[in-house]
Every structure is written in structure tokens, then in C-alpha cells.
Symmetry: C3
Subunit: 352 residues, 3 copies
């Protein structure tokens, strides 16, 4: 089950180039979509099924601003309208494939799966991309064989950093003891908290003296389906016990993460991390990105095993714990949006 009236991240802008062969097939929330750039650089997103016999348009050929199916030669323009059927003069009105609203923002390509009339660009989440002049952001991606609800729950509670990431980006039991402040928005949740006076995490401990202590500030915007932006700051441990740290700012950074479901069984995870120019240093941005590659493989191992078990016993009664507050809110919101779409008089699903 997927919310259709939402922007889904279809990848990094550099995944889709001007090259002749750069015709990119994606599966997003169960829908097959082909992405390509027009000569003016604009990205087009069409249904990846020819109107004729469902051949893959992603095996096609770019021609001008359109795409030709390389099975029987039907050519579709950037709006999905067929403008040529080789061997015949008449082109039926219904000879078209679906075109999706698509926007590039913060170096991500965003596709709207629902009613195009509702495709408000203002609904795209805030983010900081690698081309932002104020930040030194490095990017990566990963395929994870787990349902996206498990990813939502994973990201909506950083208590798991204590355990899953004990050797990389977590480790302190204090991660489980935080009392994050969650604020629901119309399409997501904001979360803030501080961790004070803890040792640096394993991944960076070698950079500091052994008795170093830091204050960490987490400021997260989580948006449906599962776009997760965190403003993350590290201070030398100060003496403030609430509000801002009064220690020295060591790292001011953004990590921007988009988890896009392929279907019910896997996700494409596009992510990035990097420091502000003011707190940058040679090798820092690459280290942060590399650290995420390792840490997200740790998550993936956990979530993939969990996914298998959830598939085996989908109706099992499970135990709720205090740390489920964040995950619970986000999944409640997702279910609410799913129900609202299902109940709408003209459901987006009817367009598919």
C-alpha cells in the first residue's frame, strides 16, 4: 500500500544524463517508470510500458524531446502522447502512456505518482543537495530488501543507534534514553533532541583524545513516504543541560535521505551527508559518506532479516515499547493518508 499523492525520490540528478543510452528504468511504489532528459536538460518521467503491448520503453531510443519504443517503433512525446505509429497514418486518441509530474530539486529527481492536479511542488521536502554552495555534501545509494514501513520505523527512532551502529555512528546507551520531541506535520514529523556529554562514536573516535566528550544536536524532518532530513551538529561538550550547547561547534552538517519503495518488498535508498563550509576539512565529507555506506548496510542486514520474519508471520501480535513513539506517529500518519486516499471520491488509484 502506497500513498499516491506524494513526491517520490527517483534518484540523484546525475543518475539521468544527456547520454544517448541514459534511459533509466525505475520501479517506484509498484509503478514502472522510465526517466530521460530532453535536449534542454529537463527530465521526463513516463510509464515504462508501451501502450501497444507493454514493451519496456526504457529499452527505447531518445528522439528529440520524446522516446521511441524500439519494439514496433511507436514514438511518445514528453507528455506521453503517441505522435507516430510506423506503418499507419491514423494515431488513435488513446495511444498514449502516462506522464508523471517530475521536478528536480536539491539534486534529487522527484516524481508525483497521483493526480497531477494535486502535484504541488511546495510539498517536496526541504533538503540540502551536493550542489548547495554552503555545504559539502557527498552522495550514495543502496538497495534494501525490506518493506518501506520498516525503514520508516528505523528512521523515526534513533534509539537503534545504540545497538545496530555500535561500531559506526552510535554505540552509547544514551541513544535509548533520549526523550525526543516529536511534532506531527500534515505530511510528516519533526523531531528534535540533544545528546550531551557522550564520547564520539566509533567511526570518528580516532580523531579525538580518549577523554573527549561531545554534545550532539539532532533536528529532523521526516516526510511521507520516507524522506528524512537531519540537521546534525556536534559540539565539544558544554555545560548547558538544556537549549543550545555552549561548547565549541565541531561539525555542522546535513544528512539527507530518501527511501523510495520499489514495491512491498524492497526500497531504493538515496542518501547523502556533509559538513557546512565553515566546519569542513579535507577528507571529512568523504568520511561521512563512507560511514553511511557502512552504517546503512548494518541497518539493511537487520531490516532484511526482519522483513523475512514479518512476511512469515504478518499477523503476529507484537510488543510495543516506549521507543516506538516516533515510529508509531509516522506509521499512524502513513495509514491515515492511505485511508484518506482510499476514501476519496475519485481516488488517485483510478488514474493508474
Amino acid at each position: 500500500m502506497f500513498v499516491k499523492n506524494a513526491w517520490y525520490c527517483a534518484g540523484w540528478d546525475y543518475d539521468v544524463t544527456q547520454a544517448k543510452a541514459s534511459i533509466v528504468a525505475r520501479k517506484i511504489a509498484g509503478e514502472r517508470i522510465v526517466l530521460f532528459r530532453k535536449p534542454d536538460g529537463g527530465v521526463v518521467a513516463l510509464e515504462d510500458r508501451c501502450a501497444h503491448r507493454q514493451a519496456a520503453l526504457s529499452r527505447g531510443r531518445k528522439e528529440g524531446t520524446g522516446l521511441r519504443c524500439m519494439y514496433h517503433g511507436l514514438k511518445f512525446n514528453e507528455h506521453g502522447k503517441c505522435d507516430e505509429i510506423p506503418g499507419q497514418a491514423v494515431i488513435p486518441e488513446r495511444a498514449c502512456v502516462r506522464a508523471y509530474p517530475v521536478i528536480e530539486k536539491d539534486n534529487w529527481i522527484w516524481v508525483w505518482l497521483g493526480d497531477p492536479k494535486l502535484a504541488d511542488p511546495g510539498l517536496i521536502c526541504f533538503s540540502v543537495g551536493p550542489s548547495h554552495p554552503g555545504w559539502h555534501i557527498k552522495t550514495s545509494k543502496m538497495h534494501v530488501k525490506a518493506n518501506y514501513r520498516l525503514e520508516i520505523a528505523n528512521l523515526a527512532d534513533l534509539g537503534h543507534l545504540a545497538w545496530v551502529h555500535e561500531n559506526t555512528v552510535g554505540g552509547s546507551r544514551k541513544y535509548c534514553e533520549m526523550k525526543p520531541k516529536h511534532t506531527l506535520r500534515a505530511r510528516g514529523m519533526d523531531t528534535q533532541y540533544w545528546l550531551r556529554s557522550i564520547p564520539p562514536t566509533a567511526a570518528v573516535a580516532h580523531l579525538f583524545p580518549p577523554d573527549m566528550r561531545v554534545d550532539l544536536s539532532f533536528d529532523i524532518q521526516h516526510t511521507i513516504p520516507c524522506n528524512w532530513i537531519m540537521h546534525f551538529r556536534v559540539f565539544a561538550a558544554g555545560t548547558a543541560t538544556e537549549g543550545e550547547s555552549n561548547g565549541q561547534l565541531l561539525l555542522d552538517s546535513y544528512t539527507c535521505q530518501a527511501v523510495t519503495p520499489r514495491d512491498e518488498d524492497s526500497v531504493d535508498y538515496y542518501y547523502a551527508w556533509g559538513p557546512s563550509n565553515a566546519t569542513d576539512a579535507p577528507g571529512l565529507a568523504d568520511m561521512l559518506k563512507d560511514t553511511l555506506d557502512i552504517a546503512f548496510r548494518e541497518d539493511a542486514d537487520v531490516l532484511e532479516a526482519q522483513h523475512i520474519r514479518m512476511q512469515e508471520q504478518p499477523d503476529r501480535k507484537m510488543l510495543d515499547i516506549g521507543l516506538d513513539a516516533g515510529p508509531g506517529k509516522m506509521l499512524w500518519l502513513l495509514d491515515k493518508m492511505l485511508k484518506e486516499e482510499a476514501a476519496a471520491a475519485t481516488p488517485a488509484g483510478a488514474l493508474v
Copy 2:
């Protein structure tokens, strides 16, 4: 869904040899069949499931004209009758496996899946095999993960040569503009057409001067399930605009192709191509065969992606175009034969 009262190609004659270990397992239209040769060279086709506990007879041992199951030693003669059960004297009447009518013709092995009483050898399609003295035929095979209906549609319209095979055996848009003459037969369709004054296709263009133009003659017999024989001739471009070309005959050839469904999800494709002795030249037959290996991989890539999409949306309303005339006729005939078999008072299926 498969027509049972039909001859299915089970492979090339050389696939099944006199060697002790040459006991060949096939899956044809959902049925598991084991093929082997008797000492006199004749091919036997039995159900590849022991009557006892469904062990694979294809893991058995040839003994005389029969086959012994190497699980518990039951021996079956060439008619599928069990003539030995080790450890017991009495052999029940029902101790037998199904034997299929089998015929070798044109270097292909043909198996009849339906009522043996209806197994008329005259229903086997015309073909030209590698042992034919008048032609220099080279053979090959391929496994394609697509439903055989997609193969039928592919072969019943050569318009796709313009696009799928632009770098091998097609390329000219004229392939889409041909008006082939289709003639339905009881169990298939004949198709004829000419392509006049076009450049040689990419695969052979290097053999000719750049301004070379040729006339092509296609004469095709397509038989259910999907046996496809084409008499293909190439002439230096003549001045005739209908009827025979008056240019020089450069290539007189036969390509013979049998697409045998394993099940609903894949096919075994046995194919060959070669020139007449009169138009042969060193290296020519091998080049033609090698060209098919490349071209049919191009088809397979298209059809496998199409098959996946068809599986995802089997009931999707699709667009029909003019080039569907040939595919439409062949699939209509297939559906007619399927319905007739289903409606018959004693359906062939009851024998299975």
C-alpha cells in the same frame, strides 16, 4: 494454455544420441518428458515421472529398448509399460507411464502431446534441416523467459525488424510499411511479401558496396504452436515493382525456427539458417547462424521485459495497431484451437 493435439519440437536430433548418458529431460507445454534412443536409433518419448513415486526417469538407465528408473529399479519399455518391478513377481496392469508419439523429421524431434489416435505425421510442418542435401543449414538454440504467445506475435510481424534488429537483420523503416499477404490455414498462416530496393542490413552491409540496394522476398509458413519456416531470398535490386524481382539472385535461403513452450513462462527456441548450395560460399552459413544468435538475443531482451510487464498487468487494456494483423490472426487461430480442444467431448486433457 496449450494446444495438446499438436506436434511440438523437442529439439535437434543431435541433442539425443546413442550415448549411455544421453537421456534427455524436456519440459514441453508443462509436461515433463524424457527422450532417449533405442539401439536401433529410434527415439522414445516417455513421461518423465516414474509411475511409483514420481522419480525422474531422466535420471535412469537405458536397458535395451527400455528405461530403468534408478530409484527403485522399475523398468519401462518403449511403450511406457512397466516390465519389471525388482523384488516382486506381479506387475499391476496400471504400472505404466505415458508414452508420446514421436517422429524425427528434418533433423528435428517432434512429440505429440494429445490423443495418440490423432497423431497424424502429415501435420508436422514443412522444414529444411541441416541434413538436407540441397541446402547448407546451420543450427542453434536459445532459452527465452517469455510466454510463447509473445513469440508468436513477434514472428507473425516482421515490422519489428526495423527497430529491434536495426544493427543486425533489419533497420530499414520499410519493414513497417510492408503490406504482407497473410493466408490462414487450418493450423497456421502463410505470409508473403517483398521489400524492394533497400540497403543490405547491418549484419551484411560490409560485404557490399555502399550504394548497393537489394530486393528481399519473404515466404513464411507459421504453424501452431509456433513453428516458423521462411524461404528468404535476396536479389540485387531489380526494376520490377511487383511479382518476382528481376535482379540477380544473391542468396536463396531457408531459416527454420521452432519455438516450444516449456510452460507459461519460457520457451526453448530451436532455429537454423542457411543458403542453397547454388548460392553458398565459404563462411556464409556460419555467418547466418551467428547472426541469428545475436538477433534472437535482441528479441529475447525485448520479450523478457515485455513478459514481466504482462505478468504484472495481465488484464491491462492495450492498443491495437495496423501491424497487429499477422499476430492477431495467429493468436486468434491459437485461441480457436484451444477452445475447440476444451469443448471436445473427450478432451485430450483427460488423457494426461
Copy 3:
């Protein structure tokens, strides 16, 4: 379908060590189980699904006599009771995972899947393990992709040695002509027979003069689900035609085999073979073990092909033969036990 009130072999004792990382995931009769050793060496078997959100406890961390889930840090003691939920003080009563009765015996780890009150250690089958001082037993294991009923049938009739193992541990047609004496027990079947004056099997024929003949004594205890212990003796062929052989005892051996279903589609096969100290010789025990590795791969090839065919036609009417007496008795007993469990007022299944 699996009998729950039974001891299932979960592997060799050396599969689960005191190492920090030795936390072993098993799937037994459809249930996911994690095995680990406490500091005192005792084995614990818990459900391999965290009570919280089904994360894999087998990806967890040993702590004292318990196991911590490394997703959110819930810690479970050896009885499956959660004794810590990081971040909260109150631990709900129902915060627990299932703990399975587990026993080590004869170097095998045994797990009871049903009602713990019925877990009588006396129901574990007799066996001879590699640490037994009187025998020189070597061990091995194999994963076979077949339903365990096929393994039961395979082991309950050694007639198949004539055919499946003609090049290893069988080969003589006399295996099919034996009249084994089967005696049903409450949870299994005993089988005895002699094979007299036959050539040594292929695997050991090179050790003897060409005209060597031997008497073989088989004494088998087969226990539900599929634990199979054979006291196997080889004598130089004697003149006795019934009762004990009066030839020289060449080999006195035990082969102990446990076939544990993972699910309906595959089994883990733990097996061993070895001579008595009195009939041991350098290289003998290793040869016997290596021979089983080859012979059980022969069985696996047969059973895996059979399993595929059984899946395709589960309701096919099959032929019964005289050699089915043993398999028939064991499968009848299995079905009887399955029915009894299903009929019981408080079925074991309700505990799952």
C-alpha cells in the same frame, strides 16, 4: 505438516560454540530458532524473533546467560523472558519469546517443538556420537531441497541401494529382494535383515580380492520425525543362511543420521558413520564418512527431482509396490501422530 511433540535434531554440538559470534540461526519444522551456549556451556534455544518487532535475535549479542536483540536492545534471559528494555523501566509481562526445551545427547543438540510439559528426554532416539569411547565416528551434514517425507521413505527401504548407490554403497540387486523385518514402535520402526554372500560394494571393492563375498547385517532404528540409526556389520561370507553369520567380523559400525525438516521444501541432514574400536583401521572412519558424502548427494539428486515433480502434481495417483512396506509403515505412523496432535484437546500448535 510436522509433529510438534517430538525431539528434532538441531545439529552437531560443535556447530554451537562458546565463541562470541557463535549464535546459530536454524529453521526447524517451520520455526525459526536461535541457539547459543551460556558461559557454563549449556545450550539455549529461543525463538529467533524479537518480541518487539520480529528482528532476528540470531543477529544479537550474548550477555551472560541471555541474548540481547541488537536492534533496540531488548535483552532476553535463557528462559525467553525479557529482563531489559532500554529506555524504559517497566517490562510488560508478555515481553518474552518462546524458549524451547533443548538437550545435548550423543553430540547432537535436540530441540523439542511442542508442549514443554511433554518433553521427555527418554524419547530421544538411541545414537552413537563421535565422542563415544567405543566407536570411531566421523560426522558431516548436507542441505537437501526435498520434503522430509521423501527422506523418510528413502531411509525406510534400502532397496534403493541397488540403483541409486550402484557405484557407492549398494549395487547388488539383492537389496531389492531382501525381506526386511519391520517392527513398529510407538514413535518409530525397527528393521532388521541380512544380505548374504554378496560382493563388497563399489566404494570398498578395491580393498578386497575380486572373488571376495560378504554377509551384511542391518539393524535399524527409525524414529519420527526422521532419525535413523543403523548398526551395520560386515562379515566375510559364512555358511549360515539364517541367524548370525559365521564368517569373520570385518566391520562393526554405527551410522547415525538425523533428517530435520527446515520447512516443507527442504531438510538439514546431519549424519555420521564409523567403526568400532575393535574393527577400526587407519583411514577407515574417514573413508566411511566420505562415502556417505558422495552417496547422500546421489540420494539428494534423486529426491530433489522427485520433490519438484511431487510439487507439480501433488494429487497424482501413484503406484504402490512391495518395497513400500517400510516407507508405508513409517509414513502411516507419521500421519497417525499428526492426526493425534491435531485432534488433541489442547493442540501443541496453540502454543506457537
